[in-house]
């Protein structure tokens, strides 16, 4: 039986005390445990940033890659071996700036992986520059006069790109966070979860308090209703919705591909070249 202790990493997280990433670390371990997935059968792939340091702090296979580039690595791991549970984990700078292109196309391809973004609305590791989700008007190191760019809406983006599972959670609501991640992992297809995750050091606006006053659980929505999901995704202000906005059971990329649909690549026998293969060159 898998227990939470199995997922405890050897390296102690070096995040600032109170950082929202801690809750996500526990939630990922918790979700995998509750689903009975063994650490050896799960891989977490990350980019670069505070949040992206996660693979070291959890006992599973970890791949700490390049800034913004975690999704292509994660997709290929799934294609290589579809027995693995593959989780992508990174920051909003990582995923929505450098990684936007991959975010869009992985959503569109509907590859069966789970992508969790620790959305602290700021750059953490590089000490507090504005990120793609930084609120308008917010003063940061790179926006001393207040951010003048409208923040990107990750939920809206994922819905448009074609993600088949779109959700939002909050680091201050641990049980709900874990349940959403669990549902995301169980979903067959690309699951995207935006996690509101306070950076206690560099984001003095979007604090735990800020969110506690505003978040509410989405209830009774028809998860297959894309238009309804769009409407929920637009809500941001006095009330901020968390929960699963959208989910459908479309075929995955792997289902469509004639080679991948036969099973994991890793099990494919190597083709031994024979003279016949060269006939076309005569």
């Amino acid at each position: 039986m898998v227990t939470l202790a199995d997922y405890k990493g050897k390296v102690k997280p070096d995040w600032c005390p109170g950082c929202g990433n801690f809750a996500q670390l526990s939630a990922i371990g918790g979700a995998l445990t509750e689903l009975g997935i063994e650490p050896k059968d799960s891989v977490v792939v990350s980019g670069i940033g505070c949040s992206s340091n996660m693979p070291e702090f959890i006992n599973m296979y970890g791949f700490h890659g390049l800034h913004g580039r975690l999704l292509p690595v994660a997709e290929a791991i799934k294609w290589a071996n579809d027995k693995l549970t593959v989780i992508g984990y990174g920051g909003d700078g990582d995923g929505f700036f450098e990684g936007t292109q991959h975010f869009y196309h992985t959503s569109k391809r509907n590859v069966d992986i789970t992508y969790i973004v620790s959305d602290n609305q700021i750059f953490g590791l590089t000490t507090g520059q504005a990120s793609p989700t930084t609120s308008m008007g917010m003063v940061t190191k790179t926006t001393p006069n207040g951010n003048i760019e409208k923040p990107l809406n990750p939920l809206d983006f994922a819905l448009t790109a074609g993600a088949t599972f779109v959700a939002r959670a909050f680091s201050g609501d641990a049980k709900h966070l874990k349940d959403v991640i669990k549902a995301g992992i169980q979903h067959r297809g690309f699951s995207f979860i935006d996690v509101l995750s306070p950076c206690v050091t560099y984001n003095k606006l979007n604090t735990y308090d800020f969110f506690r006053k505003r978040v509410y659980h989405i209830e009774g929505n028809d998860r297959k209703d894309l238009m309804q999901a769009y409407r929920i995704a637009q809500e941001w202000g006095d009330r901020i919705p968390i929960g699963i906005l959208y989910e459908n059971t479309d075929k995955t990329y792997e289902d469509y591909d004639p080679i991948l649909s036969k099973g994991p690549l890793i099990n494919n026998p190597v083709h031994k070249l024979v003279e016949d293969d060269l006939e076309e060159f005569v």
Binding site: K10, V11, D14, P39, K40, D41, S42, V43, V45, I48, N53, P55, E56, N59, M60, Y61, G62, F63, H64, G65, L66, R69, L71, P72, V73, A74, E75, A76, I77, W79, A80, N81, K83, L84, Q101, H102, Y104, H105, D257, P258, I259, L260, L265, I266, N268, P269, V270, H271, K272, L273, V274, E275, D277, L278, F281, V282
Partner: protein, 578 residues
């Protein structure tokens, strides 16, 4: 030009069917037992412009496109004047003194020394179908008559080209036959002593050979993003996925392509990516990551004329510095530059083994010329032992993914293996894969990790074969080449030898790291002349700094490959200069 070889050129605008006509001719010669070498001059255009396709065939090995021209098939007036008029003849070939086959509708051209064979190409074609391109087929038939090619072989190639049987194939064969007969009854055969035979050889382009070599080397996944001239590998593989059990993917960009290839290799699947210079530039950050996380990776880099988007359909050897210098920091990598089509096959699969054995990136360089021109390939050795390198056993206690070993190579664990969970980190890390950066920076560990990775290259250096040479034992002049210029350089050396100049070639196909023993080849030579298809002499600088030798340099950077005759002249001038 020798009597025992024949050079045919098809010239016209893009959209005239120059390439497909050229390929039919090349295949027909190849099936007639000749060695073939082709050259493709084209532009980044779908229609219009000027392009030509040259086929050189002989009963002894042909190493380059050659210099002369015997038969011209001109599909438009421009093509006719360009290749028969000495003033504007392109490509280094001497102007045509043989026969020019063209439609009688083409009139008012300026005459050169060629024999002008005006033919009712269009009229004949119209008898068999509406497709204007059938004119080409008639002309090919005429060409076959001019050089004495067995018509049944040509008709076989045409039938294959148009899908074996069916109306179109049938019509084309008939059109070709009428072209053949018309030429035979109206014009003279070329005075050549070509011995046709029965030997079966393969006619293959470099890109196809890379793809085939990769399959032979156990490739299961290829990810790329289209860019000329790297695309041909992807095209070949994509059209054979079922046959080879291969997964081929065009990703959103080259950055994702290389990261995907790394992800698959990390999970235990042999995967490869490739691009040309611009796409390769985008890949470089991840290339260094493969060195850092020690995930095996093979990247195919096909050079075209640069810089920037450059000349998309023209050749050059201008990316050596980029490839050698790719990615930040020091990390081990190996760079191959196969010299010909056959070697592209062998070196690609060797690269796949080496990358896994040493857990590092290996780059296979080509250029447009090598990637796209066809060469005869014989006796491909299909046997190959795949070596997957070191893997840890499940549940190995205290598993250290990056263990400091004497060789620098440690064992890998694949996700899914029990008890070997660890972190692969693009940040500097210790033996377990835990980060040694930020707050944990540890100079000693950093030094050890660096040495561990860099040490791996010694295994490669130890097993590296000696550098190949050509007519070198008594050579006074060393002509140094790398990659695809092998054939022209060898022919130029032969021409110099005929003039009594003792030249020999040093042929580099392992461009990084260079064979440390190569320096010995240069001692006592009267001159060392480096020949490169680029402006600045990229390997030249590298040779000078590695071996402290004085070299002279011959470069060509007009987008075309060298021609043997012109190169021999340049070499002679350098040799005679004090």
């Amino acid at each position: 030009m020798k009597d025992t070889e024949v050079v045919v050129r098809v010239a016209g605008a893009a959209g005239d069917g120059v390439q497909s006509a050229g390929l039919i001719i090349a295949k027909a010669f190849s099936r007639s037992g000749l060695y073939v070498n082709t050259y493709n001059y084209y532009q980044s255009l779908i229609r219009g412009g000027q392009s030509w396709y040259q086929i050189r065939a002989a009963h002894e090995k042909v190493r380059s496109q050659g210099d002369g021209l015997d038969v011209l098939i001109a599909l438009n007036k421009d093509g006719l004047t360009r290749h028969t008029n000495p003033m504007i003849n392109e490509g280094g070939a001497s102007p045509l003194e043989g026969v020019a086959i063209f439609d009688k509708e083409i009139t008012g051209y300026e005459k050169g020394k060629a024999t002008y064979c005006e033919m009712p190409l269009g009229e004949i074609a119209a008898k068999y179908g509406k497709n204007a391109l059938m004119k080409n087929t008639v002309a090919i038939g005429a060409m076959a008559a001019a050089v004495g090619l067995d018509f049944s072989i040509l008709s076989g190639v045409i039938a294959d080209q148009f899908g074996k049987k069916g109306d179109v194939a049938d019509q084309n064969v008939k059109a070709a036959k009428e072209g053949y007969d018309y030429y035979s009854s109206n014009f003279k055969k070329l005075g050549k002593k070509i011995q046709y035979g029965k030997t079966k050889r393969y006619l293959m382009a470099g890109g196809e050979a890379v793809g085939l070599g990769a399959v032979s080397g156990g490739l299961k996944m290829y990810v790329g993003y289209p860019m000329t001239p790297a695309s041909s590998v992807m095209h070949y593989l994509a059209s054979h996925t079922e046959q080879f059990g291969l997964f081929v993917k065009v990703s959103e960009d080259e950055i994702s392509a290389i990261n995907m290839a790394i992800g698959a290799n990390y999970a235990g699947v042999r995967a490869m990516t490739g691009s040309s210079g611009g796409g390769f530039a985008l890949m470089t950050e991840a290339l260094g990551m493969s060195g850092m996380v020690e995930v095996p990776l093979v990247v195919y880099e096909a050079q075209r004329s640069g810089p920037s988007t450059g000349l998309p359909t023209k050749t050059e050897q201008g990316d050596l510095m980029q490839v050698i210098g790719a990615s930040q920091g020091d990390y081990p990598k190996v760079v191959f530059a196969p010299r010909n089509v056959e070697e592209a096959f062998y070196m690609t699969r060797e690269a796949l083994n080496l990358a896994e054995k040493l857990q590092m990136p290996v780059i296979v360089m080509s250029d447009l010329y090598l990637a796209e021109h066809y060469e005869s390939v014989e006796n491909l050795d299909l046997n190959f032992k795949i070596d997957r390198g070191n893997f840890a056993k499940d549940n190995q206690p205290d598993f250290k993914r990056y263990q400091y070993t004497d060789s620098g190579v440690s064992s890998r664990a694949l996700p899914g293996q029990a008890g070997l969970m660890h972190n692969e980190d693009s940040d500097e890390h210790n033996e377990y894969g835990a980060v040694v950066s930020d707050a944990e920076t540890d100079p000693t560990l950093r030094r050890l990790s660096m040495e561990k990775r860099m040490k791996k290259i010694n295994i490669y250096l130890k097993e590296m074969p000696p550098t190949d040479t050509y007519r070198y034992s008594d050579a006074e002049y060393a002509i140094v080449q790398w990659g695809s210029t092998q054939g022209v350089v060898e022919e130029a050396v032969d021409m110099l030898r005929e003039k009594g100049i003792k030249a020999g070639a040093v042929e580099i196909n392992r461009v990084y790291p260079l064979n440390p023993d190569m320096g010995k080849l240069f001692s006592g030579k009267k001159k060392i002349i480096v020949v490169e298809n680029n402006y600045s002499g990229q390997i030249n600088r590298f040779l000078r700094s590695e071996f402290l030798v004085k070299t002279e340099l011959i470069t060509k950077y007009d987008g075309e490959s060298f021609y043997p005759g012109a190169l021999a002249e340049e070499l002679e001038a350098v040799i005679r200069r004090n």
